[in-house]
Symmetry: C3
Subunit: 398 residues, 3 copies
């Protein structure tokens, strides 16, 4: 994208109503307006364009981005660090192994103690149903109180890097990929996306990806087909959100227990393993009671249940049933690829290989999506600021 | 604080004699003159004021701040990183699990190897009596030698982030909090502070906090009352320092075995658990001999000894005996709060809650105190440099 | 070095043919031309000179340096971080414990996932024969493909921070030290360097140091004498490289099983423990099969084999047999020093102590060597850019 293209996007941005994102957190996509979602995509593309043009988008001379990962993660970690670095923030990890976060009382204390110079806090907490998003809101309230009470000089904004309910940085990257693929957000109405469960020999993959997808894609008039074996339901609240949004946007939200049905005529397929919602709730209870034996036997139970559905896999045969036999295959990565990373997995190697490069591009949007979320939370007049950065023209690399 | 306030503080700073701090380490507060202590407070407030005014105080375009923590720490880690970041230094951790620091020989070698581009080294080493501060001095000598011999381009300065003797970044933050609370350093003379032991169900809390407090507060004419059960003595050398300083400053330093006596009429109370000095010495010996059974049985012994003094806790009833019943309650955090973080602890929940926000503010000074220590070690004419930074007016955030 | 000295070096640099280093990786010194090796030394010295003159050499406003260490390392880690920081890059570790790099497939994926904003990737992977350098080339191909396919905005360049074959950042630092010691690269012809095995009570030290030394020093007309006990051969391919280069440069490359022969009349001695190549190959096989018992018994075997050669140590007596009894003693550090870090080791304490400061200086070149490798990979017209940085004159520290 050249400078004129960037300026065009800045003009587009200036027509959107995004000012309420200033000083706010990004926790669930469905809490954001269509304009705010669009602004996030637009800022992400502007930031990417500026980087391609070697123009610095640093808006911080100093400042910290705090990362709090309750789960190992290479990809999200690198995306968050990249986003912070792009805007001028240094990342400081809060390693909870070295901390004492245990109950409500200390969440408040720790949230304040790490935020004296924090501009952003990125949290990934997706392991226990009913916990992750709640924890994020506790942190948000704590830093808001700290700011109001004069403890903090600034109110750090939160970015949800994956919780039990939503995975907004993933679903937004996925969607930006779809927008680019179909040549614009205006072309998405009526496009069918199959968000389907797929078999994996592993256990306990989070629900936030399918939930994030049905919670976002239903807003743009798409035909969202959720499919999974019986017993692999996602959170009913999110299904409710999806149904409501589909109705509002003139799209469709359907559920089935058939991968075939979902794939039939689909423009996009997103086959991916996840754990049943009810089992994850049970696991959360067992964890709360410290019942490690119970967790181990639940794991065995789920793994053997999974095995009943080994035919839920994305084959060439199934791909042939999609729209023109050429649906866009998507995955949040890493995928379980049959014969490559496991014997039987979510997808056949030939399908995966054909879509490898598009998927890597899909992943490449994530740092920009995160940076855009931060940018809009930090700059009330984002369009003006971007125009000034463009004019400033500081080279990113000499 | 507005720009005029900042300029007023810069003028104040320029009247102080702080130039000897240039290129020196900050290891014990009582090695610093009154002017140097005052300069540290003043620079801390200026840096905070500048940040509030969105004015960058970066004085480094590149450079490293090395952190060496021999003890897990979230709060001090974040404070150190924040201070480094504020001045433009990137933090690199020296994780000793990955290193070979074992004896005098390699302290010298490692100190040089990590310092090729280090401007500051922050060390926390508070676990063993007679070790932490000594280690810091070994590192200081090693980097001085490296600089003199032409190995290092610059001589990194050391900041004591807590040792076996003192905790200067904590006691200085505590004191800045007191200064603000009483409206100025000139109002401290005669104010009574009760530095008292308090019961905690845990073991081996470092002595550096009470020692740091009696070693600093006695310099400003305060009435410092140290109280603890028999057998919970702090290091005699530090008591000696406190007594001498109290005499010099027109203050008072008393010791007792009565929490009541210390609290009576106090303007400030600082009830906090610590381990007996003699026991910590014994533990250091056992550790030196690798006698892990000995350490385990010492721990049991100390925990059961602690239990005899469960009534040493900061209750509402005791708070009522302080000056006007409204002494300022202080803690270095995290506190053991009865009924919250433990069954019986250092303080009643209602007392803690009433002082929660002031305590968080107390903690918020630490990054600025650390940054001020670094600033004064790196800038001979700190007042001039601060004035120039103010005039440069680079925004911290766009 | 003053500004005139720096400008002189920049003029020298502009006469060298180094443009092919642009966008290339630094994996083996013998893949680089003499001019490219010289340019690396020159840029290292310029960068050091600029730092001494407090002139910033930041060429990045933002950007990441990714470090991937498959082995614990304090020194290399600090050198890499220092180099990145000097040029303006923030380091992000790829901790493989938290990642899933397992086979060819995912090397490609991970390499792309960590590189969205990476300008440099530094890799240390020296544990398994036939693996480390191969892995680096896989990563290099993966990011090249990612760049060509439009996944990556920039193609990160790789720096070999130690592999199974070469240790270019070490051997180049060693050589810069030698150049300075003998007053110029033009004085090296005919100088004898004894690269000898030495006894250590530990096991499995990598071969990359001796291989790196014989693979580099043979290019400058030096007389390189490799000596080790029978059975401690290095990789035959590297010996072949050394022999060919010695012939081309008018130098000499000899092998013997005698420390005496190597030391006799030497101008430089580099006594250092390493593991036999054949044993390391066997270990790689055992590791591949997951045969941990086999590895443990191999370790015992090698340790007892080592013991047969305890007299292979750098004594004062042997030092007396070198040229004028005053050869330059070198070590990559940390050394096993007899009576200090172990009972019997690679070197007598009095020898080590006499050369301590020179060795620390030797080590101090490493950050600049790494920075020079990065600089030349990132700036096609490095001489011009350095001249402009000098004229820009941004102070590194205020």
């Amino acid at each position: 994208m050249d400078k004129l293209g960037i300026e065009e996007l800045i003009r587009e941005l200036s027509t959107l109503d995004y000012q309420n994102m200033y000083s706010s957190d990004f926790l669930l996509t469905w809490e954001k307006s269509i304009d705010e979602i669009s602004a996030t995509f637009t800022v992400a593309e502007i930031l990417r364009g500026m980087r391609e043009q070697n123009i610095s988008s640093r808006i911080f001379d100093s400042g910290l981005g705090v990362s709090l990962f309750r789960d190992n993660s290479t990809r999200t970690r690198f995306s968050f660090t990249s986003a912070c670095n792009l805007l001028g923030l240094e990342v400081q990890d809060l390693d909870e192994g070295k901390s004492q976060i245990a109950h409500g009382e200390t969440v408040r204390e720790t949230a304040n103690m790490i935020s004296f110079m924090a501009d952003v806090i990125g949290i990934r907490d997706d392991m226990y149903i009913g916990k992750g998003n709640t924890y994020m809101r506790n942190v948000a309230e704590s830093v808001q109180a700290g700011y109001d009470e004069g403890v903090l000089e600034q109110r750090p904004t939160l970015v949800n890097l994956q919780c039990d309910i939503d995975h907004p940085t993933q679903s937004m990257s996925d969607m930006l990929h779809i927008i680019k693929h179909f040549g614009g957000i205006e072309n998405l109405a009526g496009k069918k996306i199959a968000m389907t469960w797929a078999y994996s020999p592993s256990y306990g993959k989070p629900l936030s990806v399918p939930q994030g997808v049905i919670g976002l894609m239903t807003r743009f008039g798409m035909d969202v087909a959720l499919a999974h074996p019986e017993g692999y339901e996602v959170m009913p609240e999110v299904e409710g959100v999806a149904a409501r949004q589909a109705a509002e946007s003139g799209g469709r939200f359907t559920k089935s227990n058939s991968m075939e049905e979902a794939f039939a005529g689909a423009d996009i397929v997103y086959p991916k393993s996840w754990a049943p919602f009810a089992a994850m709730e049970k696991r959360t209870d067992l964890y709360g009671k410290g019942d490690m034996d119970g967790i181990a036997s639940l794991e065995q139970e789920l793994l053997s249940q999974n095995k009943k559905y080994m035919d839920w896999t994305c084959t060439e045969e199934r791909m042939a049933t999609t729209h023109n036999g050429s649906a866009l295959y998507m995955h949040c990565l890493p995928a379980d690829i049959s014969g490559v990373s496991c014997e039987h997995g979510e997808v056949e190697a030939s399908v995966f290989d054909r879509y490898r490069v598009p998927q890597y591009k899909e992943a490449s949007y994530k740092p920009y999506i995160i940076a855009a979320m931060m940018f809009l939370a930090k700059q009330k007049n984002a369009a003006d600021v971007l125009q000034r950065l463009l004019e400033r023209g500081t080279p990113r690399a000499f």
